[in-house]
């Protein structure tokens, strides 16, 4: 096979694997963003953290928030909920950052999939 074509195909394989590993990492991080609170399940998103921070700053005693299944939940302790959200978000995004850095460093298909 022509050298140039072989290089192009190798690069194409690499990009395909890279894309797949990035998607795998994203899916993993989305799962890590989940937390349970008051027998309901939430996703720690920047938007939810921002909203709850505003509620806490305005000293609202409670707030109604939809869980991931769109069921409304009366959050009885917004400050505690905020702490949980931030802890979950930080842990998940830290894991995202580490995983992303590892993928970024890998310059071959074998390195991307730990296949040495």
């Amino acid at each position: 096979m022509d050298d140039k074509l072989e290089k192009a195909l190798d690069f194409s394989n690499y990009r395909q694997t890279l894309y797949n590993q990035q998607q795998t990492l994203k899916a993993k991080v989305i799962n890590e963003l989940l937390l349970t609170y008051q027998e309901s399940i939430f996703k720690a998103t920047p938007e939810l953290i921002g909203l709850i921070k505003t509620i806490v700053d305005f000293n609202y005693p409670t707030v109604i928030i939809d869980d991931i299944n769109e069921n409304p939940v009366n959050i009885k302790n917004p400050a505690e909920f905020l702490e949980n959200l931030i802890a979950t978000y930080s842990k998940a995004k830290n894991s995202h950052y580490i995983g992303y850095a590892k993928i970024k460093k890998a310059r071959s298909v074998k390195k991307l999939v730990n296949f040495e």
Partner: protein, 324 residues
Amino acid sequence: MPKSKKQDQLKNSSTSSKGAIFLAFNNKEINYVKLACLSASSVRKHLNLPCSLITDVGSLRHFEKLEYIQVDKIFENIIIDEKTDEDYKEDHFYSKYKIGNIDNVRKYYDTPYSTFNSQFKNLTKHNIYNLTPYDRTILFDVDYLVNNDILNLAFNIDAPIQLYKNAQSLKNVIPENISDKRLNEVSIPLYWSTVIYFDKSPMSNMFFDLWAHVKENYDYYQSIYKFSKGLYRTDFAVSISMHLLKGFNDCVDDVFAELPASPMKYMSYKDDIASVDKNGIVFFANDYKEEWNNILTYSEGENLHMMNKRAIDRHYDKLMELYV
């Protein structure tokens, strides 16, 4: 739907027990008890749950004879299903789906290049509600590997039944095979019976009773829902039960919820394991349309439904090292 007081009491009770349960009935080709040991080891490591096994005398004896591992070191309870082969033969499914001399035959793939037929004993899966020793249980198929603790969240959610509706392949795309998405191209969505959380509430009881009813009237429901004839598939029975219990609507609610970490990731029958390292698994992800074409993928820290059971067997010892 109103939730019962009993269910609330159960949730709040500090004494309510929780655990994982596995069904394993060997056939001539697959040692399901061996697979259950691997799956239960992954559950013990990542979810820290006690595990129980439901099996039959023949499967257990076969496993112990091969002396892989001491099964009672992994399972705190081993429950023997007393149903004999003769009892199974009386079940109308076994005579109906008979091929040659073998009853209720399923075609298994091991990569695109190898297939084998073998008996599939899945008719009693709905009995799990009566057999579980736990108040709150997660039922796992023996080909499911747990690699993180996300499923523990299921115990903190106020939903008596939780299972997966959506699945994703190793290539992070939705299943290409229609029967892994819907009962037919225009039918109801598929719910997976691979992992099911349930408690001992009347709501859960109703779900398992309905599952039994659908199984008993499988031909009738096949004609209504127009899914493919042949092998009894518990995913189909569960999907129909969910559809009936949800009032013929496909909706998300707080009684029949999706398990945390949806979609469920799966390795299909045509995928293969390339290697196992100390943290994860390298796969050959096969292309559904171009069977000669594979890409390498690496999975670490993800729960996986490993459909290719022969591939698990080829790498069993290395996989087990992930969980000891």
